[in-house]
């Protein structure tokens, strides 16, 4: 698989992997109050400020064939370290705080009074989330997913540690560029990959802005 299609595949899978926990944690932290919430916040946002290489190293401790989770996953035929799954996990973890923050922002902009009305009209907590909270928050959630996808495209540090550079399996655009820089006469290929990166990045940011605008209109914030 080429570096470009591999990058897109890893980005998509990483975003899909991060979405359910981001939706769940975002809701829990926005809509409930309990001691220890602050600690969870710090843990969730940590990958945003840690050097990606450190994040990668910690993940490797976890997911290597001798790690706590790695052993289990390997035994069911899903090796993570130095496989495609590793690149997905690395991109997912590093992009998670970004997704989480935008999902939280999307939830926060939904008036809790609408959820109360929904419940007083006979819809329970889960149904209210599905029928009111998520539909109102979704353009914001989608904007967050797009940004997390863009972040995954650019992920390097944690990926190289956890997944290494296995061309066709974990060799995403940044890793391919890094490898090609050492190859004499590969400047054109490097340029092409840079061009694709810029194109995908612009697409993601434009999409993010459009979704964010839609989110605001939906919630009547820009009326």
């Amino acid at each position: 698989m080429s570096a470009v299609s591999l990058s897109i595949l890893v980005g998509l899978l990483a975003t899909l992997l991060a979405l359910p926990p981001a939706l769940f944690l975002g809701w829990v932290l926005e809509r409930t109050r309990w001691p220890g919430r602050g600690v969870v916040y710090v843990l969730v946002l940590l990958p945003l400020v840690l050097p990606p290489v450190v994040t990668g190293y910690l993940l490797l401790e976890f997911f290597s064939p001798r790690g706590m989770l790695g052993r289990q996953l390997e035994s069911i035929g899903l090796p993570v370290a130095f496989h495609l799954a590793g690149a997905v996990v690395a991109a997912s973890v590093v992009g998670f705080p970004l997704l989480f923050m935008l999902v939280s922002y999307a939830y926060r902009s939904v008036d809790p009074a609408l959820e109360t009305v929904s419940r007083s009209l006979g819809r329970g907590g889960w149904e209210t989330w599905w029928r009111v909270t998520l539909p109102l928050a979704w353009p914001g959630v989608a904007a967050g997913a797009l940004l997390a996808f863009a972040r995954a495209l650019g992920e390097f540090g944690a990926t190289i540690v956890l997944a290494g550079h296995v061309p066709g399996e974990t060799g995403t655009i940044p890793l391919a560029v890094m490898a090609l820089m050492d190859v004499p006469g590969a400047e054109q290929e490097v340029f092409a990959l840079c061009g694709v990166s810029i194109f995908l990045g612009v697409l993601a940011v434009v999409g993010f802005r459009a979704l964010d605008k839609r989110h605001r209109t939906r919630l009547e914030l820009d009326r």
């Binding site: 009074a113 609408l114 009305v117 007083s120 009209l121 006979g122 907590g125 009547e220």
Partner: protein, 339 residues
């Protein structure tokens, strides 16, 4: 509905509510100055906030029932329509809305008709005016077939004409669906027009309770008489068998809703002559009712009330059964809309 309330709540900011009352009424008003705890008490009835004490409706304790099983039609001041749904989808939101056919006599078409929602059904809430939003919110609450309607300042922010119109619609809804209601309002006309019984709250405490007219303080009683009638070929409107000259615009036909303030109606014990008032109707006193520092004199047909001072009542020796003439200016009988 039988109410048995002992609601007690202390907010961290220092606000305290402590209201105990029991009674059997179908339309209850909570009155009092702003900050007196009316809306908070209404929210406790709805179940949106936890409280101490008890809350029994028709003998059943509500405190342990989660919000989504209480079946309270809580209509808040800001209508809180779901912005991503059309008016029709908002009306259908409650799971009970899908089972309402026949139940309690409430039908979707009735709700849409009573609240004049037909032209709005495909619109999104952001394309509705404030009054329309409130009508939809009321419709959505009615569609959930609530055991009790809880209305928080249902007419706030409407101008005088729209307010009279909305009040008339709500009276119509009440007559049609018969759902018991609790109303919060600081406007005396709303309370006298809709509720039988009122509780006056001040600083979170119950300071007075009684018939709606008696709980209002002096000078607060402005009763609005609402009538329905049929336009006759000569332009007059037939109300309770009386042909009245009214302010109904030309060209309007069929059933109409009218309103006339009680203080705009004069009573005379003999037929007066040489008057500008277009309507002089011979009728009978049915009831005298104290209302603040005035007396409401109810007459048989048209079924309206006139506000008189106690002095005027004693000078005319008014008593139930007595024959009187009700005098109404054509311009004081306002046209509210089709019925």
């Amino acid at each position: 509905m039988k109410f048995d309330l002992a609601l007690s709540l202390t907010r961290p900011q220092g606000f305290c509510l402590d209201v105990s009352w029991s009674g059997d009424v179908d339309a209850l008003a909570l009155v009092g100055p702003s900050g007196s705890g009316k809306s908070t008490a209404l929210g406790l009835l709805a179940g949106v906030e936890k409280h101490q004490g008890h809350l029994r409706l028709d003998g059943v304790e509500q405190a342990g029932t989660p919000l989504h099983r209480r079946r309270m039609g809580h209509v808040t001041q800001d209508a809180l329509l779901f912005p991503h749904l059309t008016v029709m989808q908002n009306l259908h939101y409650s799971p009970w809305a899908h089972t309402l056919h026949g139940e309690g006599g409430v039908k979707e078409a009735d709700v849409i008709d009573a609240l004049h929602l037909e032209p709005l059904l495909d619109r999104r809430p952001r394309h509705l005016s404030g009054g329309e939003r409130r009508r939809v919110a009321l419709g959505r609450a009615l569609m959930s077939v609530p055991r009790l309607l809880l209305l928080d300042e249902p007419f706030a922010g409407l101008d005088a004409q729209r307010r009279r119109d909305a009040l008339s619609v709500l009276r119509h809804v009440r007559a049609r669906f018969g759902t018991p209601l609790v109303l919060v309002s600081h406007v005396p006309e709303d309370i006298v027009g809709l509720a039988e019984h009122a509780l006056r709250l001040e600083e979170g405490r119950l300071v007075a309770n009684g018939a709606a007219t008696s709980v209002l303080s002096a000078g607060e009683t402005r009763v609005d008489n609402h009538m329905t009638g049929r336009v006759q070929p000569d332009g007059r409107v037939e109300v309770d068998g009386c042909d009245l000259v009214t302010a109904v615009p030309r060209g309007i036909t069929g059933s109409v809703r009218l309103a006339c303030f009680a203080h705009d109606i004069l009573l005379a014990t003999e037929r007066p002559h040489g008057l500008s008032a277009r309507n002089v109707v011979e009728t009978q006193v049915t009831k005298l009712e104290e209302a603040g520092d005035a007396v409401l004199v109810h007459v048989a047909r048209p079924a309206v009330a006139a506000t008189l001072t106690p002095d005027a009542v004693s000078e005319l020796s008014l008593a139930p059964g007595q024959r009187v003439f009700a005098l109404m200016k054509a311009t004081s009988i306002s046209y509210l809309g089709p019925s």
